[in-house]
Amino acid sequence: MSAVLQYTVQGLAAGSFYALAALGLAVIFGVLGVVNFAHGAFYMLGAVAAAVLLDTLGLSLWGALIVVPLLMLVFGMLVERLLVQWLLPLDPLYNLLLTFGLTLLLVDLVKRRYGVSGLPYERPSALSGRVEVGGVGLPVYQLFVIGVALLVCLGVWLLMTRTRVGMIVRAATERPELAGALGINVGRWVTPVFGFGVALAGLAGVLAAPFRAITAEMGSDFIIILFAVVVIGGLGSIVGAVVGGFLVGLVEAFGQAYAPTFAQVLIFVLMAVVVLARPAGLFGREEATA
């Protein structure tokens, strides 16, 4: 029983990274129709930025959780203005290719600047150690990650469903022409939404910094799992991204515990089952089929 609780927390913590980043991917896809291949690279940049800021300016994790997503927001908006926007009227595969190229570029730039070995990152003392829950010692940091992820997901959900901005963005996602006809300037929201999605990837990266090895390649497996997450959850579905993220995290944790040989393959088996049974994904709408 205690082992099950431990793996559950571990899985939810890993799932938190997926959920946050997949949320960003879903928001970007929803509004721009772009699958951002560079999302894994942005996640990596978030972690690297946290490590560099700690090393040079002594910025703590708490500060990095605020500053890095803001930096990534600006960076994402620049990427959208300078590159992505030119391809928006064309086949969405072009932007997949563009962001793929961007990934190669960013990863090798970081590799040249910071080397291939991992950057160190010490987690704050308040977040290290374990806490007793029902006779089981659970790592504080994993609980912290889950808490932050749930809070952010809840915040995004409230933003989307309860505010005027969210209403506009949802309208722009579902019926862009109609929203435009009603006098909403849909184009104005494209750049901030892209930046916001990139900021979420950056936030996932900061949270991962004390938890994972910070290398230029850390986003390279991450992006593939992320794609599996959004295929499972349903591309463009916000709920699907979050549920899919946590689900995949849990599958990974229990897989590693009980069938380590097949742990990584299990996720893709899950994806295959979903593609067979519900091609649009668990929470996807069939009409979204391209």
Partner: protein, 332 residues
């Protein structure tokens, strides 16, 4: 919205070249191509020449799927790398002449493509790219786990180049090139045959308007699956030759970066032009070789920048641009 598949050549240009190219032009192009293929190892370091030929077939195989069926696979490393491993294993354990091993590898790639293709062709466009990517990465993880068979991170070492005991071919890369070139050319001929067959015309019909093709009674998913398997088989031929040429198989052959590299070659050469991939492959392989030999270790910076530039400014690709200029000159 125009499909990415016709980026290198507009539909009318493709139809013009499929139906209307004058025979003498085709013969001249064919002759030039053959002369270049035969002369390559005299001007380029022979192992690099072999790399160019193998990647060229790989890019042509990808364009068969992308340019003529509108399906962008981001998982073709599974067939290239999968065949490379199987070719290597056959060559090591059975000691057969290398063309037999390569055929075995290509056969494996086709068998592998059946389940992957069956699942992937249920979706198109961006979903197809993501699903193929994920399944290919699954194979990467499996190959990494099965290290007793594949050598894991160390790769599969010591793939022999048996060729009926002809020592020149077995030891000298220069002669090996000529022994392996027929396999590559056979693969390219097959791709050309497929495109210019009634089957290929149906593919183009599906690409341009799938609902209409379905209404005409064509089983769209079955056609897509067949071309997926054929494309995988040709990629497998290329991957097998690559494995024998290098004498070992490394794990990155299965990684998604390899899938991306061949997509880059196809896009650079011109999507939907079939032969554009050959030019794309030659340029990228020589660029990579030049960068590696000059000690520059950030090749992704260059290939990434090329990728971004081509997609932003140069979507026709090299072959597509050349053909566009040629055709518009002829029309005026």
């Amino acid at each position: 919205m125009t499909s990415i598949a016709t980026a290198g050549a507009s539909v009318s240009e493709q139809h013009a070249t499929i139906a209307g190219a004058r025979p003498w032009q085709r013969l001249v192009l064919l002759a030039v191509g053959l002369v270049v293929a035969l002369g390559l190892p005299w001007f380029v370091y022979p192992p690099v020449a072999m790399d160019i030929a193998a990647w060229a077939l790989f890019a042509v195989a990808l364009d068969l799927l992308l340019g003529y069926c509108g399906l962008l696979s981001f998982g073709h490393a599974a067939f290239w790398g999968g065949s490379a491993y199987v070719t290597g294993l056959i060559a090591i354990h059975l000691g057969v002449p290398f063309p037999v091993a390569v055929l075995g590898g290509a056969l494996f790639a086709m068998v592998l493509a059946v389940p992957i293709g069956y699942l992937s062709v249920k979706r198109s466009g961006i979903y197809f790219a993501m699903v193929t990517l994920a399944f290919a990465q699954m194979l990467f993880f499996i190959a990494n786990q099965a290290s007793s068979l594949t050598g894991g991170e160390n790769g599969l070492q010591g793939v022999p180049r048996s060729f009926f005991g002809i020592e020149a071919v077995e030891t000298d890369s220069f002669f090996f090139y000529y022994a392996a070139l027929p396999i590559i050319l056979l693969g390219m001929w097959a791709a050309w045959r497929i495109v210019h067959s009634p089957f290929g015309r149906v593919l183009v019909a599906i690409r341009d308007n799938a609902p209409r093709a379905r209404a005409l009674g064509y089983d769209v998913e079955r056609y897509k699956l067949i071309v997926f398997v054929l494309s995988a088989g040709l990629s497998g031929l290329a991957g097998g030759v690559f494995a024998v040429s290098h004498g070992f198989v490394a794990l990155p052959e299965l990684h998604w970066a390899t899938s991306g590299e061949v997509v880059l070659m196809t896009v650079l050469g011109g999507i939907g032009t079939l032969w554009g991939g050959v030019i794309g492959a030659a340029l990228i392989v020589m660029l990579a070789d030049y960068l590696a030999s000059s000690g520059f270790d950030g090749i992704g910076i260059v290939t990434g920048a090329v990728f971004v530039t081509v997609v932003l400014l140069f979507r026709r690709g090299i072959w597509g641009t050349a053909r566009h200029l040629w055709l518009s000159r002829r029309r005026s």
